[in-house]
């Protein structure tokens, strides 16, 4: 994971915290299970204490903390309808992506390349013309399914200019593996140049 967006960054932090916690828990459980092989004589902790402490209290506390963290992060990734967000319409079909820019008057649809400005959140409204696909640019953030008859929204942001690979993440038929796209994040100057090259006005 090389996060390049706010969303991906938040998810990455979550991951490192969970990984560390998991390693500790894993070592604790497996270590405890090996104790009676290593120690010949010892007095085991009371069964009741283990059941209550290990079975109820410990997971209860950890999970509660995790849930709260997850909700906070999740909230940050969800569309909030704030102003200044660039709206984009993505339509998937077997096996390609079309992107439209309703907020950029006169801007023609692009095929397979999604152009966005750096540092400005954008909201992708995803749908599909045929089967279910899934919109995913791993370094920018999570994925969202493109479902025929439904429109789903994901909010993303690129922090640095560059080209980010995207990929359909839901099996959608033979060319699923080939169904990729790129997100091109432009610096402000670059973005203006791209817009100008399209002959459009904002």
């Amino acid at each position: 994971m090389a996060p390049a967006g706010e969303a991906a960054q938040a998810i990455a932090t979550l991951w490192w915290v969970m990984l560390a916690g998991s390693v500790v828990i894993f070592l604790g459980v497996v270590g405890a299970s090996l104790l009676p092989l290593v120690l010949r004589r010892w007095s085991a902790p009371s069964a009741r204490a283990m059941l209550i402490g290990g079975g109820l209290v410990f997971p209860g506390v950890v999970l509660l903390a995790l849930l709260v963290a997850a909700l906070l992060v999740g909230d940050r990734l969800s569309p909030r309808g704030e102003p200044g967000v660039l709206r984009i319409e993505a339509e998937a079909r077997q096996w390609a992506w079309t992107f439209q820019y309703p907020d950029l008057p006169g801007q023609a649809a692009t095929e397979g390349v999604l152009h966005v400005p750096v540092g400005r959140p954008f909201e992708v409204q995803v749908t599909s013309r045929d089967v279910i696909h899934s919109f995913w640019a791993p370094r920018l953030g999570g994925k969202i399914d493109a479902i025929p008859g439904h429109t789903n929204v994901i909010r993303l942001q690129a922090d640095a200019p560059g080209i980010y690979r995207g990929q359909c993440a839901e099996f959608c038929g033979n060319a699923h593996a080939m169904m990729d796209f790129v997100v091109q994040a432009h610096s402000p100057a670059d973005y203006a140049a791209w817009r100008a090259a399209q002959g459009a006005t904002e």
Binding site: S22, P45, M50, L63, C168, A169, G173
Partner: protein, 840 residues
């Protein structure tokens, strides 16, 4: 503790009893094997067949790993890869894991319960044939190159006709449904067996812990499979007749499929895990010399797990754009499921810590299980955290997670169980050398294959891609996974070799080599067809520990039902809470009926697959005929006074008892049916909520005739069956027969009234999902009316023959249940069918 009623025939010697019982319970050799209904025989068939499918699934896994070993391999093309991974998942889940569990339960349950067989032996055999035939359809299709190819969860619309025009998806829907029939049969049978078919004294709190696990598993199967069956039926109707349940342009929704699938699919994971955990809870006390800590805690945890697992299906759908609030709910519920699992893990740890582990092969697999499963559980918590799941979903991270859970939570415990019960299955001892080598290969191969997939997944490798570019940087890890995958496969192959050579050449083992305390070890090994010479009266959870002389005493006939008589296959049935004997169940002997019925069912499915619908209609009639003849052979034909059951007690035969297992079988069948119907109502309401303009006003028309007809039929039928039962109770046979005819007519009226809706009033089912739903619900109602008519006719025919009496009236009790069910679902159906029109 022997009690012989005076005047009874002279007691047999232990050998004489063995011979007499073996004659009674055995199956004829040769072609006679086709008629076997014995639970040990059928259970072993299940287990062996499931391992054959495991090997097939394993070969497919090797094809996957060969293809992914390097970037841009062209060993398989995209289409072939799609078939291979779809079949790998399908075979492993539906043809290996679930049937292996069914086989284990079939084989073990009666032995753990100190019984001689399950409640419905013919149903066991029928289930096996359904499984074998259904599985064969899938494998034959694969050999023919037309295997399913939309992934093991078959998302629509990819699996719908426009995008999968070939027969591939039909093969999945029909093959898997055929196999699921056997799972539902097994669930009904296990539920009933645990409730009723135990040995004397085995109160609920004296049941071995494994029984509790299997019971909760059976309950989950009973509730989990019907939604999947419903989904498959609806999708097959869409594919075959263009009924647009899942088509968003005509009032359907592709998400409906996902809900129905995961309503099954998530509990499925726990259905697979629980028996594995049950094996762990069974072997740990034996190999640590310490009683299981927290028996009651574990039972509560199991039941909680069962409930929670049905509340979290949507966590497979976090990326489908369901509302944030429900995301939070499902996320919370998904993490909640950890608590009952943690309780079990700490109960095991506490057992282990207070005992002295003996490191046998089974214990090695316990450690393999614990370490693997904990990792799988921890990554499971991670993906229950929604934002993280948005990243990990549908990548190889998930592939890694699911294999850690399934291998850790199921395959390793099953291997532990195999080595634990091998002396029981075969009567032979194994040496541990080869087994330990295999264990090492499996552990190394498994972790080296699947640990790296967490990383490839996080680095962005989606699952189900047949190839990837060299520039992605995933090659090395994939190569490691592939090589290790083959090491893993060699490990499994060694296990097979090991088990086969023990079964063929192992030295005879003594009874109960591990010093276990549960009843299955009190039987001769390998177990005889009748399990035990007589059934014990147990007073604790550890009967063999209480009385080490018990096995010999039972062989001498000192327990219940030690005296074979009248050519009856007898086993004890108990009061469900206290475990006091309350009836003697007479079980059917070998018969070809299950095979014929399964063949007729197979004809139905296969003719549907090849779109030969007239043939399907004929097959349906054949199934009804088989069912009739099946039931016809059951039951007593005259009243019999309570019989001596040994130990100075008497009990009625089950046909004379108030709550025979048959009735419980009906109760559980109707429960499964009710879940099916509930899922149908859910689907209807779901489309109503999510699909725009649903139901379309243009399709609604008020029409009073058919609902009134159905209502009249319901009222008449319910009244008739009650009056008939009362007349029968007062020995007025002629009156009760008249009422049965009325009941049959009422069933026919309901069928006619319900069918009239799609035939005359509703719009064409392919015009809109609402019309399709109306047609389907009418069909459901008509079908149940028809069955009510057939059951009434059946009871009438038996009563005419004088086979029903005031005391022998299970036909009436069953029919009454059916009518109650029909009454409830009929009213709901009428509301769904006609409510929208009258409300508008």
């Amino acid at each position: 503790m022997s009690d012989q009623t005076p005047g009874a025939p002279a007691p047999l010697s232990a050998i004489g009893r063995h011979k007499a019982l073996e004659r009674l319970w055995g199956t004829a050799p040769g072609w006679g094997a086709l008629s076997a209904v014995n639970h040990s025989t059928v259970g072993l068939r299940f287990i062996i067949t499931s391992f054959v499918f495991f090997l097939i699934g394993g070969v497919l896994a090797m094809l996957i790993r060969a293809q992914l070993a390097g970037p841009e391999t062209d060993f398989l093309d995209a289409a072939a890869y799609a078939q291979v991974f779809t079949m790998h998942g399908t075979v492993m889940m539906f043809l290996f894991a679930i049937p292996a569990i069914e086989g284990l339960a079939l084989y073990m349950l009666p032995k753990l319960l100190g019984a001689r067989d399950l409640a419905f032996p013919r149903l066991s055999a029928f289930g096996y044939w359904c499984y074998l035939f259904g599985g064969s359809i899938l494998i034959l299709a694969m050999l023919g190159g037309v295997a399913p190819d939309s992934g093991w969860f078959m998302y629509t619309p990819l699996s719908s006709k426009p995008y999968s025009p070939g027969i591939n998806s039909d093969v999945w829907l029909i093959g898997v449904t055929f196999v699921e029939v056997s799972a539902v049969c097994a669930a009904v049978e296990f539920m009933t067996t645990v409730l009723k078919i135990r040995t004397g004294g085995m109160a609920l709190h004296r049941m071995p812990i494994m029984v509790w696990y299997l019971w909760v598993t059976a309950a989950m199967m009973l509730f989990g499979f019907p939604p999947l069956i419903l989904g498959s039926v609806l999708l097959e109707l869409e594919r075959a007749f263009d009924w647009p349940f899942f088509d968003p342009t005509r009032g359907g929704s592709p998400l409906l499929w996902q809900h129905l699938f995961w309503l099954f699919g998530h509990p499925e994971v726990y259905i697979i895990f629980l028996p594995g955990a049950g094996i762990i809870s069974t072997i740990l006390p034996v190999f640590t010399g310490q009683k299981l800590v927290g028996y009651a805690w574990i039972i509560v945890a199991l039941i909680a797990l069962g409930f929670i697992s049905f509340g979290i299906w949507a966590h497979h759908m976090f990326a489908t754009g369901i509302p944030h609030l429900s995301l939070a709910f499902f996320s919370a519920a998904s993490t909640l499921v950890v608590i009952p699992t943690a309780v079990q893990i700490f109960a095991w740890l506490a057992t282990l810590l207070s005992g002295r582990p003996r490191i046998t092969l089974s214990m090695l697999y316990f450690y393999g299980f614990l370490s693997t499963f904990v990792i799988g559980g921890l990554t499971g918590v991670m993906v229950a955290v929604v934002p993280f799941d948005w990243q990990a979903h549908d990548t190889h991270f998930i592939v890694a997670h699911l294999h850690y859970v399934l291998m850790g939570g199921f395959v390793f415990p099953v291997l532990a169980g195999i080595y634990y019960w091998l002396p029981h299955f075969t009567g032979r001892k194994h040496l541990e050398g080869l087994g330990r080598t295999a264990f090492a290969l499996i552990m190394i191969g498994f972790n080296a294959a699947f640990l790296p997939m967490h990383l490839t997944g996080l680095w962005g490798m989606p699952r189900r891609v047949f190839t990837y570019g060299g520039e992605m940087g995933w090659d090395l890890l994939n190569l490691i996974s592939s090589v290790a995958g083959f090491i893993l496969a060699i490990g499994f192959a060694l296990v097979v070799v090991d088990v086969v050579q023990v079964a063929r050449f192992g030295r005879r083992s003594r009874r109960n080599p591990w010093g276990a305390s549960t009843l299955e070890w009190g039987m001769p090994t390998p177990p005889p067809a009748y399990n035990i010479g007589s059934q014990p009266h147990v007073t604790s959870r550890d009967p063999l520990e209480d009385d080490p002389g018990l096995p010999a005493a039972l062989a001498r006939g000192e327990g219940y039902l030690g005296q074979p008589r009248n050519g009856w296959r007898e086993t004890l049935s108990v009061h469900m809470l206290s475990g006091e004997p309350d009836q003697v169940v007479l079980l059917p002997g070998p018969t070809l009926m299950p095979l014929w019925t399964a063949l007729a069912t197979g004809l139905f499915f296969v003719s549907f697959l090849f779109k030969l619908y007239p043939l399907s209609a004929i097959a349906f009639v054949l199934i009804v005929i088989c069912g009739w003849r099946w039931m016809w052979a059951s039951g007593l034909r005259e009243d019999v006074a309570p019989v001596d059951i040994g130990r100075g007690q008497t009990a009625p035969l089950h046909a004379m008892a108030a709550d025979p297992p048959t009735l419980w079988g009906m109760v559980f069948t109707l429960m499964a049916n009710g879940v099916f119907f509930g899922a149908l109502v859910f689907g209807y309401l779901f489309l109503w909520v999510v699909a725009p303009n649903w139901p379309p006003p243009a399709l609604l028309a008020r029409e009073p005739v058919t609902p009134l007809l159905v209502l009249a039929g319901l009222a008449t039928g319910l009244a008739a069956v009650w009056r008939g039962a009362r007349a029968n109770g007062e020995s007025r046979a002629a009156d009760s027969q008249t009422w049965l005819l009325v009941s049959a007519a009422a069933g026919a009226v309901i069928a006619g009234g319900a069918l009239a809706v799609p035939l005359f009033t509703a719009p064409a089912p392919n015009s809109h999902a609402y019309a399709a739903a109306v047609t389907f619900i009418s069909g459901y109602l008509a079908f149940h009316g028809l069955i009510a008519a057939i059951l009434s006719a059946y009871a009438w025919a038996r009563s005419r023959n004088g086979w029903i009496s005031a005391q022998r009236a299970v036909e009436f009790s069953a029919l009454r249940l059916w009518w109650l069910y029909l009454g409830a679902t009929g009213l709901i159906s009428l509301a769904l069918l006609h409510g929208p029109a009258w409300m508008s």
